[in-house]
């Protein structure tokens, strides 16, 4: 006997928790199709695209210097003007995006992966759990920028220390989230059901627990990207960023600081870019967050 599904007992409409949810077949499509998320995607997309197209769009090399320093916006050949060494700001910003994307694309995944490994270890055994917890505490407690200074002094300047510091910062963020998720999910009845259904321990973890525990991570990714941009910027500001003269959003921004009053356009480009990026990411994060919240 077949019967039509009853979608909405009215009581269900009362609490978001029990509300008829989107079909989780495409768990995040719903989230990403909201107006909020669309705006975010457009913003982020635009920035990323600009970065990828840097070589095409930018008229000049990011390190080509010229006599005219601090040229204003709209100077022929320099739509965004030039910096103190007469370098074209448009191309510096574009290549800056490129550089940042490069760093983030490596650092965040690494950090996330390590964090998740720790989380799995923590979930495996209570002793490991305490240990991992303390490790997270340690990382969190360590003043990141001091660490950045030290690490750079040790490894020498360049992408590596930046990547390292960012990755390190991400570890506890992801680790704690996943750990929490696993601890919650594995108490759920469907997990018991799976075990009784004969599924092996690893299979239960991979097939049942992780997919559900991973939800908050998706949000965290968006957040982490933001954090990454900031760390990169702060490090450049402290003079331990990516090796000059290669531009990054952070380095261009910090180079512009002395001229903030004299030549505001210097700071405008990178600042707007960073803002757009962060705004976009946080919009996406929010949208996802509303969706995955249980």
């Amino acid at each position: 006997m077949t019967s039509t599904p009853d979608l909405a007992p009215v009581e269900a409409l009362r609490k978001p928790g029990r509300a008829p949810r989107r079909s989780p077949r495409h768990p995040y499509r719903a989230a990403l199709s909201t107006a909020r998320a669309r705006t975010g995607l457009v913003l982020v997309g635009a920035v990323v695209l600009a970065g990828l197209l840097a070589p095409v769009v930018a008229g000049h090399g990011p390190t080509d210097q010229s006599g005219l320093s601090l040229a204003a916006v709209g100077t022929p050949g320099h739509p965004l003007g030039t910096d103190d060494l007469g370098r074209d700001l448009l191309s510096r910003v574009l290549y800056g995006i490129r550089a940042d994307l490069g760093i983030i694309a490596i650092a965040v995944p690494i950090g996330a992966a390590l964090g998740c490994l720790f989380a799995l270890a923590a979930a495996a055994h209570p002793v490991l759990d305490t240990l991992v917890q303390r490790i997270f505490d340690l990382i969190l407690a360590f003043p990141g920028l001091i660490l950045a200074l030290a690490v750079t002094a040790i490894l020498g300047p360049g992408r590596l220390p930046v990547v390292l510091v960012i990755a390190l910062a991400e570890i506890p963020a992801f680790g704690r989230l996943l750990r929490g998720g696993i601890l919650v999910q594995r108490e759920r009845e469907y997990v018991t059901a799976a075990r009784v259904g004969g599924s092996s321990g690893p299979r239960v973890l991979v097939r049942h627990i992780l997919p559900n525990a991973a939800d908050p991570l998706i949000v965290q990714v968006a957040v982490s990207l933001t954090v990454a941009v900031f760390i990169e910027g702060a490090m450049s500001f402290l003079g331990v960023g990516v090796r000059p003269p290669e531009p990054t959003l952070g380095s261009v921004l910090s180079q512009s600081m002395p001229y903030l009053a004299q030549a505001p356009h210097f700071a405008a480009g990178p600042l707007i870019t960073v803002t757009a990026l962060v705004l976009g990411l946080s919009l996406i994060a929010e949208a996802l967050n509303r969706e995955v919240r249980r």
Binding site: R134, P143, I154, L253, M257, L260
Partner: protein, 314 residues
């Protein structure tokens, strides 16, 4: 409560031990050594060697480590290598300044965050809500080192109503001290305040959807009280945890903000110490920061339990 603290003590010590080892190793890995930077430009090898010996840098690392831990245990931190003065004095002064800054920032975080959160969650006027959205987003989107420079430019240089940097002790002239404190604290607080606001907003919205709110409404409790006395207390505990985390961020962020506002705190001290390879100062200071963080975590847990009566019983 004491029992709980006792239970947490070992792991806290574990963290500190790990930290001490980490700090020591990192510092020794950093190239350049105190002697050369102390010997100054144009010093010859003999001079450097003499200084190395005076500082006991020629001893094997393990000895240096144990010696350091010893100094911590006895509480006599000894003199600084390069910066000058006793380490305890240096850190004492720095701690005072940083504590001032962090606490002030924390207050801003709490006040602004609460305002953002509550208004964002409950305000009927869409205008206010979107205004808050914009503010929080901006606070999150503008890197502290930019917002800092902007604040200085606006309030100190253009308007000239606040000092651009530096610090006056609160003991001497609280009113002046407050003015010196305002900008750095604000700059430090903004991002965290935004984060807090968003969390609180979510928390309140979730709490307002709960059954017990319906119960209270059905009993005729006024909306205002619903928010303040029924929903808010439930939204707080997770926010407290977040606040604990943020305190860590604040301490970390101090490095940057203190640089921008010439605030003579631990961040500045750390940067100086590191750049001049003043091992004792940097070691003790970093360890102190870690310790502070650990303590804050403990406090957070206590407050959490205090706010949420269930914790005790589950």
């Amino acid at each position: 409560m004491r029992g709980y603290l006792l239970r947490r003590l070992p792991s806290a010590l574990l963290v500190l031990l790990g930290a001490s080892f980490l700090i020591f190793t990192i510092l020794r890995l950093v190239p350049g050594d105190p002697a050369t930077s102390l010997a100054g430009p144009d010093a010859d090898a003999a001079t450097v060697a003499a200084i190395r010996e005076r500082l006991g840098l020629d001893a094997p690392l393990l000895t240096q480590y144990t010696h350091w831990i010893g100094s911590l245990v006895t509480g006599d931190l000894g003199p600084s290598y390069a910066i000058g003065g006793q380490v305890s004095d240096l850190i004492g002064d720095g701690l005072g300044a940083t504590a001032e800054l962090t606490v002030a920032a924390l207050l801003f975080v709490i006040v602004l965050g609460t305002a953002f959160g509550i208004l964002g969650a409950t305000s009927r006027s869409g205008w206010i809500r979107s205004a808050i959205r914009v503010t929080t987003t901006a606070a999150l989107a503008v890197p502290p080192f930019v917002s800092g420079v902007l604040l200085v430019l606006l309030f100190a240089v253009v308007l000239g109503v606040l000092p651009p940097g530096g610090r006056v002790s609160f003991l001497g002239a609280p009113d002046l001290a407050a003015q010196y404190l305002l900008l750095p604290a604000l700059c430090l607080a903004l991002p965290s305040a935004a984060v807090l606001g968003r969390y609180l907003k979510d928390g309140i919205e979730r709490a307002l959807a709960e059954d017990y709110i319906r119960t209270a409404t059905a009993a005729g409790v006024a909306p205002r009280r619903l928010l303040w006395r029924h929903a808010l207390p439930n939204a707080l505990p997770p926010v407290v945890t977040l606040l604990g985390m943020q305190t860590g961020h604040l301490l970390g962020g101090a490095v940057l903000v203190e640089a921008i506002f010439a605030w003579p705190g631990l961040g500045q001290l750390a940067e100086q110490g590191l750049s001049r390879r003043d091992y004792p100062v940097v070691q003790d200071l970093l360890l102190l920061l870690v310790a502070v963080f650990v303590v804050v975590q403990l406090l957070t847990d206590l407050v959490y339990a205090w706010l949420d009566p269930r914790i005790r019983w589950e």
